[in-house]
């Protein structure tokens, strides 16, 4: 086996677990239409929309498997437009990194490190992520496989241990209180709130089998959707529909009420540390993506200095925002910003590139043949 390559299994695990880390943290799905007992159905339906809205990005990635995102955009849209969009991608990845870093800090601060200053949590996380990111993507995926498999197992175990508290009749009646439009609207919104397809896009040049891109995405989306739907359903069943929506971190409360036997109570710390582990990996990945995008835009060779500067900038901005606002309280604004940004960077820009590709297909294919 070629040890410099990333396997399909690693990516499936990474994308599934990374997707779960945000969706079960503050469970934004509960406040998306239809906002009732049918939310789990809405999540399952979002699988279809998730596939549809990522077709342009996956298609382009499949056409240019050896190129990075910025290189792909440069090739299709031209140098100037490619770099222009590439810069925006870099900023998007950095902004997203800031968001998940602040989310991690505030959730950790609420539960296990209530008196620890934000600068310490963010600072140490940033340093760890800088070190992880400096080891390149292949190494990150290899390590991530270990961490995410344990984390995924922990999440599934926590779900099972809390089943005793779940009243499934709260999830009835099915589909009677929701309209077709509401379910679909919610599913579309939910599909735009997950961004982990970029892990696949950025890692695909290093994939063991580049033809597996679609398969990896379908499997990871399927697993993520199923586990997320189950997590949301059991949380609603345990806390009640309204209480789950009133709570900022519903799944955390779900784990706090686990009382399986004397050995399995007060194990919410297991969830928080699991979540920290996943999220730290996520921060490292998106920080690295921002660095990769900037590196490509400015044609810089591997530069650890640039990566460190990016990390420090992200850390400083995160500390400032974390000290001045509680981001998950303004959930509707955060969700709107996330949805819009994901729609633009996951669907709209790739769609534009895909359309341009179809117009320039002959010349691009000729260019590719001559390069080969």
């Amino acid at each position: 086996m070629n040890s410099e390559k990333i396997t399909s299994r690693q990516l499936i695990l990474l994308i599934t677990t990374f997707g779960l880390s945000v969706t079960i943290s503050y469970m934004f799905a509960l406040n998306l239409p239809p906002s009732n007992q049918d939310v789990w159905i809405m999540i399952l339906l979002s699988f279809v929309y998730s596939l549809i809205f990522r077709i342009p990005l996956l298609f382009l990635n499949n056409k240019f498997p050896e190129l990075t995102l910025v290189e792909m955009l440069e090739k299709i849209l031209g140098k100037f437009a490619g770099k222009f969009f590439g810069l925006f991608y870099a900023l998007y990845f950095m902004a997203y990194t800031i968001f998940i870093l602040i989310l991690q800090t505030q959730m950790t601060g609420i539960n296990i490190l209530a008196s620890t200053p934000n600068w310490l949590i963010i600072g140490l996380t940033t340093i760890a992520c800088l070190y992880i990111g400096s080891k390149d993507l292949v190494m990150m995926c290899w390590t991530g496989e270990l961490v995410t498999s344990i984390s995924l197992f922990s999440i599934v175990l926590l779900i099972l241990l809390g089943l005793k508290n779940v009243n499934f009749t709260l999830l009835l009646p099915i589909l009677s209180d929701s309209t077709f439009a509401e379910i679909n609207k919610g599913a579309i919104m939910f599909s735009f709130l997950t961004t982990d397809v970029f892990v696949l896009i950025k890692a695909s040049p290093f994939l063991e089998n580049k033809k597996n891109v679609y398969k990896i995405f379908v499997y990871s989306s399927l697993f993520f959707t199923i586990i997320c739907a189950i997590a949301v359903a059991v949380t609603q069943g345990a806390l009640g529909l309204e209480q789950a929506r009133h709570t900022i971190y519903p799944f955390l409360i779900y784990t706090r009420i686990i009382n399986f036997t004397a050995a399995f109570e007060r194990i919410d710390v297991v969830f928080v540390t699991t979540w920290i582990a996943i999220n730290t990996g996520r921060v490292a990945f998106f920080m690295y993506f921002g660095y990769m995008a900037l590196k490509d835009v400015f044609n810089i060779d591997k530069s650890k200095v640039l990566f460190i500067v990016i990390g420090i900038l992200i850390g400083i901005i995160s500390i400032y925002i974390a000290n001045n606002m509680t981001i998950v309280v303004a959930q509707s604004m955060i969700n709107l910003a996330l949805m819009l940004s994901t729609a633009i960077f996951v669907t709209i820009i790739p769609l534009i590139a895909m359309i341009v590709y179809f117009f320039r297909r002959r010349s691009l294919d000729t260019e590719k043949l001559s390069e080969n």
Binding site: A128, G240, L241, E265, A277
Partner: protein, 411 residues
């Protein structure tokens, strides 16, 4: 070990250190904390009084001669809000109160009647307050009146109350509700909810070495019914058995009943005969169903339960054919009466659906529910219902013929 494995291990090590080391800041030593085991909330002159039972670690560690009362301290704080009252305890107490071990939250009756809606935000928002704490109302008293009583063998009054409340699995004349369950039912629209109850009861002192003639114990029988956020009344112990049957949450109850007199074999009685038999219910299944009859909702409750005959004093020879069957019928009648009492109280006196029937309408007739949900309380008070109970006595213990009748020469 190759380079890749070494690097992997280093990364994992750094991750682990990152997680562990950050907890060194903000750590609080145990001897700076006042560990709260029970909390009481009252209202006096418009001010909130929070009473916290705090463990006294010094007395506990020198426990040879310390009494259970010395093991705890009761710290009160007063304020306009619960948070102010809580924080104000530090003005007079030398420790910061620490809530994660507080298993009991008691509302004084006056506060509960006024409405608890503006005092529960503190409980849901505070990250130290555990969701598994039990919510209780002090029947006819202030919360601090029922704290400080320890008539059991627990180390502290708070622990004593906690163990009694947890014991609802042994006696369904009560019901315990945790904070999470409290909020689950509190948020249900158009429906009421229950919490557990505490009352201080005087009993004769049996221990002759103690000088007092009476002792005070805590009784958790009954349950408090809320409508909106206000206390509206109490279900009695028998009504609670009926309630638990109706909602399908009965775990363990004793049903006392009188069987028909003609079953008593008066010829063979050789001692004083009593009136009652007792069956312990150990398994029950409830099915609730709604039907529209002539455009009106009709509730059908079918209960099947199995029990153990624990005692019979009437002089019934259960080894005779048909006797046990009749006893089962009598037992079922009494269980049915408990349920009907609970329903009547909920409908006519409280005018509040504490049974979750509204949720049943929502599940079975979702379209109808959309039309009637705003008027549900008015519909509920006039709801027709039919209760059917089937009892089975599966176990009669070690005897068939009770001691107060002779077996005789019959086979």
């Amino acid at each position: 070990m190759n380079n890749l494995s070494k690097k992997t291990l280093i990364v994992i090590f750094i991750l682990a250190i990152t997680i562990l080391l950050t907890s060194c800041t903000g750590g609080r030593e145990l001897n700076t904390l006042g560990i709260v085991v029970a909390t009481g909330l009252d209202l006096e002159d418009g001010k909130v009084i929070i009473t916290n039972e705090v463990i006294n670690p010094a007395k506990g560690s020198n426990s040879e001669n310390s009494t259970t009362q010395e093991n705890t301290l009761f710290i009160q704080g007063i304020g306009d809000t619960l948070t102010e009252a809580f924080v104000n305890t530090t003005l007079t107490f030398d420790r910061e109160l620490y809530l994660p071990h507080s298993h009991i939250v008691i509302f004084g009756e006056e506060l509960a009647k006024r409405g608890i809606g503006d005092y529960i935000d503190f409980l849901s928002r505070n990250n130290e307050q555990r969701e598994q704490s039990f919510m209780l109302v002090a029947l006819g008293a202030k919360a601090y009146d029922v704290m400080g009583i320890n008539s059991g063998i627990s180390q502290s009054p708070g622990r004593y109350i906690y163990e009694i409340v947890r014991g609802d699995i042994y006696n369904d004349e009560t019901r315990s509700f945790t904070l999470t369950e409290f909020f689950k039912y509190f948020y249900r629209p158009h429906e009421g909810f229950l919490t557990g109850v505490l009352k201080a009861v005087e009993k004769p002192q049996i221990n002759k070495e103690i000088s007092e003639n009476e002792m005070t114990v805590i009784c958790v029988k009954d349950a408090a019914a809320f409508k909106g956020d206000k206390l509206i009344g109490y279900y009695t112990g028998e009504e609670m058995i009926g309630f638990n049957f109706i909602v399908g949450e009965l775990k363990n109850a004793i049903i006392e009943f009188e069987s028909p007199d003609y079953l008593v074999d008066k010829d063979r009685i050789n001692s004083r005969a009593g009136k009652l038999s007792s069956v312990q219910v150990f398994r029950s299944k409830t099915s609730q169903n709604l039907k529209l009859i002539d455009g009106k909702l009709h509730l059908f409750i079918d209960v099947k339960f199995r029990g153990i005959l624990r005692e019979t004093t009437q002089g019934l020879d259960i080894s005779q054919p048909g006797v046990l069957k009749e006893m089962e019928n009598s037992c079922a009648k009494v269980a049915k009466s408990y349920m009907e009492q609970a329903l009547e109280k909920g409908m006519k006196e409280f005018e509040s659906d504490t049974f979750g029937i509204g949720q049943l309408v929502h599940r079975q007739y979702p379209d109808l529910w959309k039309e009637i949900e705003d008027n549900w309380e008015g519909i509920f008070v006039n709801l027709d219902y039919t209760v059917n109970v089937t009892a089975r006595i599966n176990d009669t213990g070690f005897t068939n013929t009770p001691p107060n009748i002779r077996k005789g020469k019959q086979l």
